[in-house]
Subunit: 338 residues, 4 copies
């Protein structure tokens, strides 16, 4: 931690800063410049990270030296990437994994038929929402537990493990009964009660980046889950909110190489929500693979114009098949399989 003092900080204030640091069990190293005095804090930074140093009179700014996350950091695994398994499907290895399915589970027919089609095209994990976070209380809120059962049936028939979103701490038990991977949605990325709850689960968790979450925020939220004992976390970039209105969100592919450097956790990209325009999902999927994504999540529906949610961005099965074929070439160009 490095403390920069104000130009008019008095000697008395400086002493008070040094004392406070001492009270917290660390040492202060004073360095006097022509204009400002800089105080270096020597010792374990964790001990002072949460202290309100900036509130001490005379302090102008505080710069941390170390990262605030530990378990999620790349160093924690000595620079090696983690492989997280959804059912028997390994995410984070050589193969780029594609998760696919409809936005919402709507009926047995719908989910089974879509599951079959995405499997044929090469998807390795089935997605489908049973509990749906919708902006409006007047729109379809998901089939709930019934939807989870339908997902489990589709798994029976196709062998694809399933991922579905959890929205409430109360639902962990039922989710664990039917799903293979828990999804924490963008709107719940800083729902810390939920993060702690899934941190106690035996299932892997895919944590989606919030619409206004920095990369650091995302890593800190993942740290919550790992700190509860669940090390099987996937991070998912799904678009951030910017001033641009042409696209639904701004898929931030910059996050991929940055996260690959900062953390050992596998990186998933959701081009469907990310750009939110069906015509452009494929281009963003290819770009995500080229930038180094470990997995993709792509929405597919066999009748987008009657879908109960997000029909305008879902691909038709034949469009998805085409995407998979072309994505394979890009994966190979960057030394991976798909």
């Amino acid at each position: 931690m490095i403390i920069i003092t104000k130009p008019d900080t008095t000697e008395e204030q400086l002493q008070h800063i040094v004392e406070r640091i001492g009270e917290w069990g660390l040492k202060a190293q004073i360095s006097r410049g022509a204009v400002r005095t800089v105080v270096g804090v020597i010792g374990p930074e964790d001990a002072v990270r949460e202290k309100p140093i900036a509130a001490i009179p005379g302090v102008e700014s505080v710069t941390p030296v170390l990262k605030p996350y530990r378990l999620v950091s790349r160093e924690f695994r000595d620079g090696n990437p983690s492989i997280v398994r959804i059912g028997n499907v390994p995410v984070g290895g050589q193969e780029v994994i594609v998760m696919s399915g409809p936005c919402s589970v709507e009926s047995a027919d719908q989910i089974t038929s879509i599951a079959g089609e995405v499997k044929r095209a090469g998807a390795r994990v089935l997605r489908g929402g049973a509990f749906k976070p919708r902006t409006s209380p007047y729109t379809f809120q998901g089939l709930g537990v019934e939807g989870l059962k339908l997902l489990a049936e589709a798994r029976e028939q196709t062998g694809l493990p399933v991922i579905s979103e959890i929205m409430d701490t109360k639902d962990l038990e039922v989710m664990e009964k039917y799903a293979d991977c828990l999804q924490v949605g963008a709107r719940n990325m800083q729902n810390f009660s939920l993060l702690k709850e899934v941190g106690r689960s035996r299932l892997p968790v895919m944590l989606k980046r919030g619409m206004s979450a920095t990369i650091k925020d995302l890593l800190m939220s993942a740290e919550y889950i790992l700190s509860e004992g669940n090390l099987n976390v996937l991070l998912c970039e799904r678009g951030i909110r910017t001033f641009e209105t042409y696209t639904r969100n701004t898929l931030d592919l910059n996050a991929i190489p940055v996260l690959k450097k900062e953390t050992h956790l596998p990186i998933v990209v959701d081009p469907t929500h990310g750009i939110g325009l069906r015509d452009h999902v494929a281009a963003m999927a290819f770009a995500a693979i080229a930038a180094g994504a470990d997995a993709l999540m792509v929405e597919v529906h066999n009748s987008p114009e009657t879908a109960k949610s997000d029909g305008e961005q879902a691909l038709l099965p034949h469009e998805f098949e085409d995407l998979m074929r072309r994505a394979r070439a890009v994966a190979e160009a960057v030394g991976r399989t798909l």
Copy 2:
């Protein structure tokens, strides 16, 4: 709803659009321009709002005519504002209400002493966090139920009703036992499970705007609460996330006149979190009142440099007293009391 078709939309596609609209029980009115054909959808817009119209082949864009919210809209109360009571304190009337207290409840001494000081200065509601949403799992997470009890004791001594944050659907019962108003934090603004839960409470709810929530998003989240039967909702502007890094957030005072026009619900402004810099809290508080805010929430601590959270932005009691005195003059200048 107004549908604009693509330049190359075929007659067949147009017919298909008209049929879909018919299936949903509405009428289509076609208007052919030189370049584009526009289809007006006549009938109750609510019936089609959630339909994936944009997914129908040939559709370029869809423009709603009506607002997606109903219960929160100003029209719902014939243009009149609502008054929401926290304990016996009316928010939304002539008097600008100030809620104040520390970020977190830390001890009996701390909360009681601060409660006494803010009351003397003119605060009408006591704030204090018992369950704390913290970015890092390694920082102080609040005293929990113990904190709620301390708040209730402080209420005994001062007569000030208390507001505190609820973070988990599981906690509603205990919150109702001790608090007078439930706060839903910015990070949970789209935690729809929580919104539904507090929508069933008998207590008023203060809903804080999410860091990347549009004004429309905020109103839709409030609509969730009202649609469950709880009409006692306060909206709180507390700063949005922008590219500016000098301030902690960008307090968006533009939201005040916009919300006053759109909704009957009272508007609270939190300048402390909004700008996040102790020196500038007062200026933003005055601006909020001048722009029409019904209430302010201001953090005060008697020892910011040892506070367990957010010490760097809390005011000292004497600073708060000074703020109140000057705020009173601004309130009077815009025809209100404080």
Copy 3:
């Protein structure tokens, strides 16, 4: 300047960093922590500010200790504010100055009549665009020099000094002939050629904040003007670009107290462009005064629905009169006149 090294920085790399600092004429002070080594750079920071320190192998990050601006900083005038005169009107003193007029000068009648009305209501400076920065090449581009002449005539009749926008370095001479203050628009805030040119003018310059400019960027652009010798600069907050679409821009009133602390230059606020909605201009004007603005710029038109630009946000003369009356009360509440 404080340099934080990477965890795997070698002793050799560290020596190389120290040598580079030496070459630039400064001294390095090494401080070894358990995990990271920190290198403090002792000496005039200006000398190394533009050096690519982050490009030296082994460097993880570089934190400046001092502000990158000098002439605009509050310290440069020992903490005192500057008063900048537009004609004979002092901006930055006790009186809150209101500049008003139409978006564009359209005709002799239009500008003279509006000038008369805003003067009667209490405006002290007349604004009007002759060269107009328009998003589309197909919309009204302003009357050019003819518009400047009409402004000068309106000044003759009313005695109000005039401010108008300069868009091209070629136009300085003609602008100086007719205007009393040069406006540099938001879109040209980092048009450094133009900044240097107006820095050589004898007229004061009002510099508008760019739509994505940080407060620091704004101050750096002002520094360009001052560094060329023109110390008469006004800074104008006029709304930044955020994700919010309800308002045209997000007027960032947080910038007012921050700028008052950082710089001696007077602060102008433009609520008209800032919020971009006629109904809400007054609320934002009051808020700006309460937050400490030294001046306001408010657009007025006597026939908004036939205006050649920005009619949808201009106030009618009687609305402006009402705004002025109420603004006066707010100004007095914060100890100023208007």
Copy 4:
């Protein structure tokens, strides 16, 4: 144009709206819903686009039916892409073109040696700044005309055509003398005087997207250049400004497929400024190609740690060579050459 009226719009106001539309030479078609009345405006939308319709009493909102740009639109060339030549190098065809070189021209040695190295690695165009837009007036401002001459010499020796930035309308003549392509920087994207000036040039223009420019804004700025007669325009995505601070900017690759659909102009991507971190330039370059970019602009320096600008993001020649080799594989995977 579709006009939505307010709920309380009177019959008289509605008539007034219809009359105004008539005065402008168009026809109004009224469509009365249960709650709102919608007025369709029939006729050439260009005629009313700049009219302040929203300022007419009773109007709530105005939705355009057509795009505001014409010459840049894909339809203008019947859906075909344009090929723009820089010297003899065609951009927009089968081959992905790479432009490379240092941020600034610093000396004859520097530019000649870097030019030789990037040519060997496969770059087809040489970049180098002679006039530099710098945030601070105290940093290196470029060699000016001398820099242009050095660029021309490097072209002599390598055969690579050169692109360099123009910052002032006064400099067009000298730029035309030495450069093969004019670059308009992000900060000047809405410097409309400059856009008009380069619109009269015989040289192609690469227009960089402003940091807070929407895709529509970018297209409108390009429309300025084309409307002056210069059809040889390249659009360059170089990162937008968001709340994320880990990366210097947020390279918005979503813009690539969107622009490919909206316009016939070739798309260039600048990963160097876009992400601003040397380690991650390659990943973003690959992603840009996979998303469909027609060209890349990549900064290379042979001594980043002594570079006079932007050294922290420039690649070393051997890093650039590696990038080119791997980029070739990605280009081939999406059916292009490099």
